[in-house]
Amino acid sequence: MSSRFRVSLILLAALASAGCEREQRDPRGKPLPEDQSNVAKGDPRDNAYENVSYQLAQGQRLYGWMNCTGCHAHGGGGMGPPLMDEEWRYGGRMEDVVATILNGRPNGMPAFKGRITEQQAWQLAAYVRSLSAQPRQDVLGSRPDKMSTTEPATISEREKVVDETPALPRDEKD
């Protein structure tokens, strides 16, 4: 077997594992070992949720099912803080977000421990982080098949312009 052939086999295998990981559909969620010793380097479980399309998509659906939209809207915030920005009151790492979801936070964030499974909490956390573009953009679909509740940017921006300069030609036509 030529070495070139071997190299290409290895490359193919690498490609395969990379492709498989992001595309895996494990409906049980990834196993969540208790080992927390490696926290400094980032939890290895991050990748198993954050970079896996299926888990993100499940998180997206849970976000609606668990009525997260009630307070956080579709990331823009409402009663609860916005999730689309880069600011995290309680830390923005996966473990922090999971902890927030499971244990709740003061000022209204309820604890979901015992009300959703830990896997679901990780799915949700992965989705929540994706709202602020934490993981790669092409892992989650571009939009949900739902109503977008945020105000379309074009309308609000343009209304402002119109308000300030009422003498625009198209207003005369109206």
Binding site: P27, G29, W65, F112, G114, R115, Q119, D145
Partner: protein, 333 residues
Amino acid sequence: MRRALPLLLPLAGCDTVQSMTGGDGRQGALFNDLFVIFAIVTLVMLALVLTGLIASIFRRHPAKSSVPGENDEARDAPFRPLLIGWVALIATGLLFLTTATYLTDRAMQARAPANRLLEIEITANQWWWDIRYKSSKPWQTIRTANEIHLPVGIPARITLKSNDVIHSFWVPNLAGKQDLIPGRRTDTVLEPKRIGVYRSQCAEFCGAQHAHMALDVTVESWADFNAWRVRQLTPAPAPATPLALAGYNYVTTRECASCHAIAGTPASAQVAPDLTHLASRRSIAAGTFPMTRGHLYAWIADPQGAKPGNNMPVVGLEPNELHSVIAYLETLK
């Protein structure tokens, strides 16, 4: 004639709970009649073609010596009247079938004058059916899942919606399909003619568990139906045994209650099937298993093993929790 269809089906020994041959609804019976008409016409046409084919193969053909292609066009001429006749025959057959189609379709559309009309709203989800019996009085609205009961002889207008992807509502014994399309509202009418239990299955590919998205249909007498309706309107009973009480506490406060609702308890989420009368249903998990204690155990303990890819998570119940949850669920008659 309604019974003629099974005769054409040598392999269909008897009508089953999910078969077009049943003809147990008004539209289903009309379908059977039309199917028989089509079957006869098409079989006659097939027989004609095969006769021609076999005759052409086995007829004594002229000797092999003459030059190929000689005077072909001139030799076409005698076949012209035959071709014209053949086209006329096909056209007549099609005209007949189109007329039969039109008349059947009109008959299916026709609303029988009914003094009672049942209004049901079905919302499809990946991979279960959310059922509401509508009523002008809100306290008479029934909410259930994965089963419908219909009084025999009374038309039921069914409004169809979808929460996620396209599904298709189909009770083969009673009537044809109607898709459930997100963003649209469609409807269909079922008019069951005969008492019995039937099975409906989603007929539009809808994802991982399309195969396990069934709906139990029970057609019963008006009295039975009314009894069922009254039962459905009652909230869940309070748990009677300590074990069931433990189960009640778990189900209504923990993971289960985040998605399921049980009328008369704090559990009121709308994400997953209503469990109020779970134990009275024929099957579990949208027709995936028959309702038995063993299947209930298997399902609650590992929903992903039983129906991979569905949206119920593996909660990881401890054995005692599992026993108590099952004990409580079994009280939900």
